[in-house]
Amino acid sequence: MNLANQNFFGTRLKLARKMAGMSLQDLSDKLGNMVSKQSINKYEQGLMNPTSEVLLAISKVLNVKPDYFLKKNTLELKEISFRKKSSMPKKVEESIIEKSRDYVERFFEIESIFNIKPKFRNPLKQIIINDKNAVEIAANKLRGAWELGHGPISSIVEMLELKGVKVLLIDSEDEIDGLSFFASNENPVVVVNRKFKSIERIRFTIIHELAHLLLEFENHIKSDPKQIEKLCHFFSSCFLIPKEMLIKMIGGNKRSYIDIKELISIKEYYGISIRAIVHRLNELDIITQNYYQRWMIYMSKTYGQKDEPGTFKGEEKQKLFEQLVNRALAEELISLSKASTLLNISINELRKGTVCAK
């Protein structure tokens, strides 16, 4: 659905301004004496069109390509759900939403060049989540529906991209973990902040955000955001390492003592943090609540609040979008300038990267 067809330039200008976190006055100041605050307001209201010179100056200041302003259709985002500190300013929140919208719009644009019409079907639609048991069932069902087996998932991003979920990894200094939303035509989008985060934390957050999109909670849970957060966390654990595999790797249904090396080995194999594994062991009653708490204290004292020993050797990086742009370029479906616009990189950088097969 389109937000505005009539005054598309004005609509886009306003969104780009929000993406840059600027007020009308900020933009006018950055443009020097070129355009007044009143003129920018007129552009946004659709009362005036800019000259090419002004369009270029605005693009430069707002750090978007001129093409951004000429898209007639603005993607509608539904069910936006944020994981952030409550103190995060509204301006920052809007900026992250607009950056995400811009990425998904560019993704859809390259897909349309190949006539790809992404259609996502939620395999968990029939399950109503009322407790942790239902979450565990849902996580197993998703692995089954997506034919992932019980083993480790080498790249969560790559796997999700192949299943029709768009993933955007951002580097934000702000206190945000991630967000999720549905883009037009019910396409799920997960955005995760990777700045200062371990790969295990990134993987966990991606699945947590996915859970927000795929799980249908019972009414009494819907009104309890804290409970939803806990259940999405639990879903992430269950999905990243299925119960049967964890029991097999830990060697039984009850353990009174666990060596850190055992946990490092599970962490490095499944790409899930030691803290999340220990939490899960407690949830499954494999270790007692008391032993779990001792573990948490030990981890904090030995490694600090966030650090841990061991690292998953995989990589989490969005690839599909770039692959499609490079393919379109190689097949001459788009020009070099178009590719640089889609990838948001300089044309010169791109010019040196594609080998012509002819």
């Binding site: 090419s52 001129p66 093409d67 001459e332 788009i334 300038s337 300089s346 044309i347 010019r351």
Partner: protein, 175 residues
């Protein structure tokens, strides 16, 4: 053959190729009527490249058009999903001035041809500079040999054919 009365419309790719091949001075020696758009200049992000281009803008050898029609560019942009706004500004200028598009981007050249506009590339420039004796065969060959290194999207097969052609002419002249 390059005609002095012809209006040439350059895109940024061709300007990058000419700068990297160190042929920009030779190109502007040819006394042709060269135009480009403000959008093309905005695509030059590298300061060193921009400084080279600015020299030709200041001396009036590269004209920057400022009479573009926002509506026409917008209309082209809406119809051509494979082209950028900058490409469309080049097309709009070529249509308005009945000019020849000079681009090393195959996507833009193909679209120009579909619209019955003449489009030429870097190999045409090298051949033309050679015919006008602005560069020697030796220099032309040297530039052709480094072209695939400076622009990995350059048409390798056509470059090889032109190299063979020039080497044979050179050989026959010596014989």
């Amino acid at each position: 053959m390059l005609n002095e009365r012809e209006i040439l419309i350059n895109d940024s790719c061709i300007l990058f190729d000419l700068i990297d091949l160190n042929l920009i001075e030779a190109f502007f020696k040819s006394d042709c009527n060269v135009y480009t758009t403000q959008m093309v200049i905005a695509e030059i992000a590298d300061d060193a490249q921009l400084s080279v281009i600015s020299k030709y803008i200041s001396s009036g050898r590269l004209n920057i058009d400022s009479e573009d029609s926002f509506e026409t560019i917008q209309s082209l942009f809406d119809k051509l999903p494979g082209l950028s706004y900058t490409d469309c500004s080049v097309l709009e200028l070529a249509i308005r001035k009945k000019g020849v598009i000079i681009s090393s981007d195959k996507g833009l050249r193909n679209e120009s041809k579909r619209r019955n506009l003449t489009a030429r590339g870097i190999l045409w420039i090298i051949e033309t500079l050679l015919k006008k004796e602005i560069i020697t065969t030796e220099i032309a060959l040297e530039k052709l040999k480094i072209l695939p290194e400076i622009n990995q999207r350059a048409p390798f097969k056509e470059i090889t054919l032109l190299i063979n052609k020039l080497e044979n002419i050179d050989k026959k002249t010596i014989d």
